[in-house]
Symmetry: C2
Subunit: 653 residues, 2 copies
Amino acid sequence: MPEKRYTVRFEPDGVSIDVYREAENLLRLAMVAGVHVNASCGGAGTCGKCKVKILQGENRSAPSSKLSDADWEHGYRLACQTEVLGDLVVEVPVESRYEKDVLARKLTRATEEHVLAEARLDAEYALEKSDPAVVRYYLELSPPAEDNNVSDMGRIGHALKKEFGIPRITPDYSVLRSMSTTLRDRNWAVTATVCRTRGGHRLTRVEAGDTRDATYALAVDIGTTTIHAALLDVNTCEEVVRAADYNSQISLGEDVITRIVQALKPGGLETLQKRAVKTMNGVLSECFEKSGVTPDAVTHAVFGGNTTMTQLFLGLNPKYIREAPYVPAANFFPLFRPAELGVALPADVLGYAMPCVASYVGGDITAGVLATGIHLHPQLTLFMDVGTNGEIVIGNQDWMVSASASAGPAFEGGGVKCGMRATFGAVEQVRINRANFEPMILTIGQVKPKGICGSGMIDCLAEFQDAGVISQNGKINRELAARTPRIREGDTGWEFVLAWKDETQLDSDLVVCEPDIDNLVRTKASIYAACSVLLKSVGLHFDDLEKIIIAGGFGRYIDVEKAMTIGLLPEVKPEIVSYGGNTSLLGCRMAALYQDKVEEAETIATMITNIELSASNIYMDEYVAALFLPHTRMEEFPVRAERLKATREALMQ
Amino acid sequence: MPEKRYTVRFEPDGVSIDVYREAENLLRLAMVAGVHVNASCGGAGTCGKCKVKILQGENRSAPSSKLSDADWEHGYRLACQTEVLGDLVVEVPVESRYEKDVLARKLTRATEEHVLAEARLDAEYALEKSDPAVVRYYLELSPPAEDNNVSDMGRIGHALKKEFGIPRITPDYSVLRSMSTTLRDRNWAVTATVCRTRGGHRLTRVEAGDTRDATYALAVDIGTTTIHAALLDVNTCEEVVRAADYNSQISLGEDVITRIVQALKPGGLETLQKRAVKTMNGVLSECFEKSGVTPDAVTHAVFGGNTTMTQLFLGLNPKYIREAPYVPAANFFPLFRPAELGVALPADVLGYAMPCVASYVGGDITAGVLATGIHLHPQLTLFMDVGTNGEIVIGNQDWMVSASASAGPAFEGGGVKCGMRATFGAVEQVRINRANFEPMILTIGQVKPKGICGSGMIDCLAEFQDAGVISQNGKINRELAARTPRIREGDTGWEFVLAWKDETQLDSDLVVCEPDIDNLVRTKASIYAACSVLLKSVGLHFDDLEKIIIAGGFGRYIDVEKAMTIGLLPEVKPEIVSYGGNTSLLGCRMAALYQDKVEEAETIATMITNIELSASNIYMDEYVAALFLPHTRMEEFPVRAERLKATREALMQ
């Protein structure tokens, strides 16, 4: 054991960690200590997110353009650029802290809103009758006798065939090892758990007595940012409880690209795999605690995630997802035992991962299509899952095309100076007084603001546009600096002060600056351009869309009118737009309850043609055309064109 | 760590072991020390096999009827009945020692002799063309490109389908985890190992480059006494090398019943499982060393064993094999990964265990039928596998019945005073001078005798009978005591001295006594009665038999004429009797090389109707009738009847 050199205490958590090496990296220590510090560039010093305040102690830190002079004066350093040279007391600033409670709040709101997807589940199935791929059968066997001494396994196999029409069943070895004792426990009355697959039937568990009453399944959405799980009562088809938490992979990078980079470091894949599982175990444990259901009562689990999240969870090398021409290890995944991956479920619970379409269109999208039923109806539908990434599917019962827009994390607070996730203290709505340009802001949880979230940025930008604070190219109207102190030139260019320092939880003014706006414009442009390319690839136009479904954690907060104002969404009749909610979780839920939905999911994944935007020769043109508010082709936004004209006229007065 | 009390040294191995408990059991110590001492009753003190000589030191030992007064005087004790009270020096007598070399000798002899079974393999297949269930395919894939960016797994799947017509393949997770790197190792040239099963195709390995040249499979016969393995070159169908060793489970009991009893003790199953694997690993390691083949070149392995051996190897509770109505855990076994059982093979090598018929008719018999082709021809065939147990199959292409005779270990030297296995020093042939009753004996290895093996006992009994030394009820002719000192009344009843003490490696005369003869008579009676019951069950007689195949390690040493003389075999034309050799290993070899043989084996196991002799109402009558030399119904042995008449007349003179 090496000698201890220093101690670092992280505030306000009060977590301390011993340091054994001279000049140990502070971000690394925070990770080991389990203290969350935002870090979206993986420790490269480029994102500037891992800002911490050194309250006390000796350290050596590289200067960074991400820190203002005032920051440096106040003791702010980038954790990833700081080496520990003595006992330290470090404060993790509010913007790095997660408040898990907000997830529950979001879920409540979501439940009210995702009318569409739940509706499909309601409409297409009599909810009291499930037909899952994993089924429990109750058997009352006749005990062995001289004239009937087939093997224990043969006895179960014959009964399953005779009573339930199940042909040739293959037992798991775990069953063969325990079965003989179990059969004799309650006088040859047993419950057999059978997984029905294309390749045959598999016997995964034999329990004494009749255990059918308590039969549960799990649906798990493995998001880049959050992991959601729903515990389902297989007998009633009810969702018993739902829980969620932030994916603890976040501290190793905020987006899939950074995670892939991390995964390629020695031991990286294993670390990321374990982190996802750790978060998942917490979420599952919450489900079990809240419901009183025991893990033993679970027979199977369905997992949905984007391609990277799925590969990381399954321990598959994600390297080539990131390298052109962007090839995943696999799009279809064999059944697995989650317990072997570290998931806290009984060893014989089977897991199924939703099939993926391509490197950047994953199982969450397949699940989303399954949940929303795009593939079943004639209407031309645009499905957008806007989260950490932006995935798009356009199609109907006959065909579907998909694309992934390199949306970037702007909607999740990334690349935005005062950006943050949609948790307490995030500005989510903004109104600008047309006379004096004073803002009215509303935060999540209605507490003092500490940043602005993605939907807040859309709201803000639309309002800036309508109020004339910014022009159509996203630049702040410098002339207005004479009319309000909120418009000024700051460290990072021109900015608008949404809240003065003393009104916030921050050590500085809460601003939206031009680079923030540029970031958001690029993001919305990439999504709009992706939709445009997809439509053109099949010879259609935005006018042809009969339905738009916005899914994903972020999507549900978008104000449709505002999204059209900035040109994130095309200008369509608002009533054709609906929210899907967490369609990934919902699709997993359907696959967990209905066997035929598993096959349907595989059909969907096969049916979708993915278009690689980087290989499209019109994408760049479309993208550049969309780098305008709402768009260069104003004829696509007639209502907004009218309104902008009015704004300009008002400002002239 | 408790304090060391004593040390026990075992001679002639010179192995020492420290003793930490007062009055520790000597047999237990021998086991821990890895010193082999025969023990067929598992330590109950009833078999008398674990005789050792205490050369020095304090001990406490229970007296035993298995030890003569002279034995006791000379320091002989039953190890299982002896407690250690001081430092001991213990000599393990020669009859307890194994000499592994003899297995190689037996194999050489076997190779010459098992003409029949090898013949089938030669005749039915062009030996240079294998068609195993596990196949390697070489693929030269086109690298991913913008217009061809299916997943890595999809690329392999498409190529396998297009080039080799393999539909829908399911990869193992181990493949998914390593494949992406492997594919890019040698510019997308890979070898895919595919297992073709009824339930679909499974991808078990992907290797860089073309590895087809070195492709091997293993056939492993897990016998109660010995474990044999053959390394097969899949490309040439040749057996590259064969190796064998004594199953180290032996020290926990000589027959399957004792092993089952041991398995039911706490930790017993695990211990037995590990012991079988330990021996197997030694045998495999010998195969690899001798051939220079590396374990990486092995793609699959086929295992054959009786039901108990199979269950112990796979870690399945054998409890109910032993309890009426004798139910095995399973007769058909899913594919498994031997490495997960501890077998020293790469993790992705697949294992297949030969299907069993019933608790006492196992995968070795199924393999035997497969190897000898009984199920393919119209001739009525009797198949006898006489080893530690005696299993019988009668039938042809239309039907087959089987039974297991509780033969007991008499043929392996069990229950016979000077009995021993067929290793160096075992008497294997006996001739008696008709005038003075002096014997001429021949031992294996032609060394000084140290016991008599099973085939030696048959030889001896037949000769005793022909010479008039014993009568038809197996009793020694007391009147002859007057004509030779070799016939006398000993500690255990009347006996015949085959060799005087100073001619042997023993501390006493080498004798065959009446209880030995009784044992052998009971054994042969149970086998003959089993055949008789099987034939009667289908309305046939011994006359109807067109072919008799004797298989098993012991079978190949039987002199057919002698076996008929004692009534072990029915009196048939000697030319219809043939030796099968190790048909279990041969059947495994066929299943390893030919996919259709795997299915054929499953058909055989399903096709055979097992008859439980203990439930037969004629078995006891048949058994009692067979407790006579050669048989009570002398009309079934007309040649022997003539000869006996001549013997009696000669003795009268």
